[in-house]
Symmetry: none
Subunit: 183 residues, 4 copies
DNA sequence: TATGAATGAGGGTTCATTCAT
DNA sequence: TATGAATGAACCCTCATTCAT
């Protein structure tokens, strides 16, 4: 479909420019130029600039969570956690723009409660998994949300590190995560 | 001194508003209003808005590093690391606005090489400490920069978590850091 | 075309106000108001205020030179010089605003080498004509550039004088020019 | 007197900067800096910026007219006119900043009727001289004001030319003036 | 659906002028 | 007289959004 193509091009152009110049230094006019559409066209697919930013974030976040969503159907073990952690890290390394956009978006004022609530189900499921892990004496008896935050922060800085240093290491990094939280 | 007072008020007003509304959604007019000075007064103390943002970051970063600067004069051990980590976390918890401003500033386009180069000495010293720790078989044989990033990310999300949950726990959090990187 | 109409209206409004109040005392807001367009519309047709000023000058200068451009295809004689001089003076008298804008622009900091270089071909051709006139013993053996300056200054103050006094005289004025430089 | 020294320094600084950067691109702060006085000091000697500009013009214009004022006590002849014209030109060549400031001031909106009326006596006297010259068949029967304008314009462009080309010629230039208006 | 010229509120910044010292 | 920090109106310009085509 032509229209879906345009929407995609707008999102791709926005992603590229947001990472390159920052969200607030990227005008809608520039996005439309990069996407090769008219300025007004953006407003056919998005309510306004904030809506575009939010939808871009949501689409990327969903994509980034695919691997962990699979995990939810399993129980937590060293192996399963490692597999999914590495797959997700790999996704971040292979999608540096998407990854960096999320890093920029997260502490920004565009990141509202409202948006994050869309992912609360996912969060709750992961927390449940962690609670199982604690019960099974796989993980330390810490607040499950703390472990979730640890996981997320660890993922983030590790991807940054790998992108920056281009290292092939993975397992030793995972172990810094696991050793930190294992029982 | 009157003039130093005004400069301080401008920085405080900027900090408050940047955290509340985001850097780019805070106009200089609003800052001056909040600081109870005239618009032009900002430009008596800062070259422009970017200069104000940068100087605010530098002053906060320096303040946040005071505790770690002390660490540099010691050698790394479980005890010294714990003491300084907890002191720094405490600073973050007690200065949530300053902490959150740094979080917002870090991935922003205002965070240039030029600014961070002012802190490169500090970074080098910490890396040296970490290298010592690796040699002394206190820490895992990982890239020292990775351990530094780990430390920094761990600090960040832990402060966020403590602010959010108001928990009094500290030691158990520090252990997730240390267990992750210890030999 | 609507768009060309707006551009023209902006140039006309700018010309009127620049002459009335001076270039630097005319704000872009006032120009847009006089032209009955929005402030931003100016920046659709001009890069910035300086660009607007420059383009206005260039368009007027080109218009003012049309008569002299014809002269270049002739050789210099009393008759040809008189005819073209009078035509150009007539243009100035009939376009007092354009004429006065040029007078204001010439000694201003907006009058850069870069702008005038666009007319250097014209200048060179006129100098060549003057050199011919000197060779043919029509004109005094003076530096050709001096004669060119004389011509230009004479034109300027004569137009001013005619506008001010509304005199119908032309020929006697031309003779003060010609008697000054003739062989 | 100290105070007169400061006033002089302000006028000199203003002159220098006006010529260098243009009147409107020169802030009072910059003038005070160049004059090595405080910003407020300017307002002890001048009502406001416009007053400073006007007084600077008046002082320079008066200085430039000294030679012609002498002429008024003589009658017009080729010799007297030449002598005074050359002396005045020499003044312009030796005071390029003052000369160029006048060129910039003349077509500007700061040049009001009110200011020029201060020199109307001088103008009237010169006109009277010219009228005598016409009666005595030294000069063409042209409107005396036209001859005055001619003289003034001729003076102006000749000084410009001499400054630009650094030529030592004088007499041949005067002759283009005199030949233009002689009987 | 798609366009892009047009809008005008709001942004960062400057600077003539004032006034407490 | 002299200072210079402080003021705030006014400047130029940007850009999210609209709407006639």
């Amino acid at each position: 479909m032509v229209e879906e193509d345009k929407k995609k091009r707008i999102l791709e152009a926005a992603l590229k420019l947001f990472v390159e110049k920052g969200i607030d230094n990227t005008s809608t006019a520039l996005i439309s130029k990069e996407a090769d559409v008219a300025t007004g066209t953006i407003y056919l697919y998005f309510e306004n600039k904030v809506d575009l930013i939010s939808k871009l974030y949501i689409s990327i976040k969903e994509e980034s969570m695919v691997n962990f969503l699979d995990l939810i159907e399993y129980s937590v073990s060293y192996d399963s956690l490692e597999r999914f952690w590495i797959e997700t890290v790999e996704w971040g390394v292979n999608n540096p723009d998407k990854f960096r956009f999320m890093m920029q978006f997260n502490p920004s004022p565009y990141h509202t409660e409202d948006i994050e609530s869309k992912f609360s189900d996912f969060g709750k499921n992961v927390v449940k998994l962690i609670e199982d892990g604690i019960k099974n004496k796989l993980l330390k008896d810490l607040p499950p949300e703390y472990i979730l935050d640890f996981l997320s922060a660890h993922f983030t800085f590790t991807v940054e590190f790998i992108i920056r240093t281009k290292t092939k290491e993975r397992k030793i990094f995972f172990e810094t995560l696991f050793d930190g939280i294992k029982y």
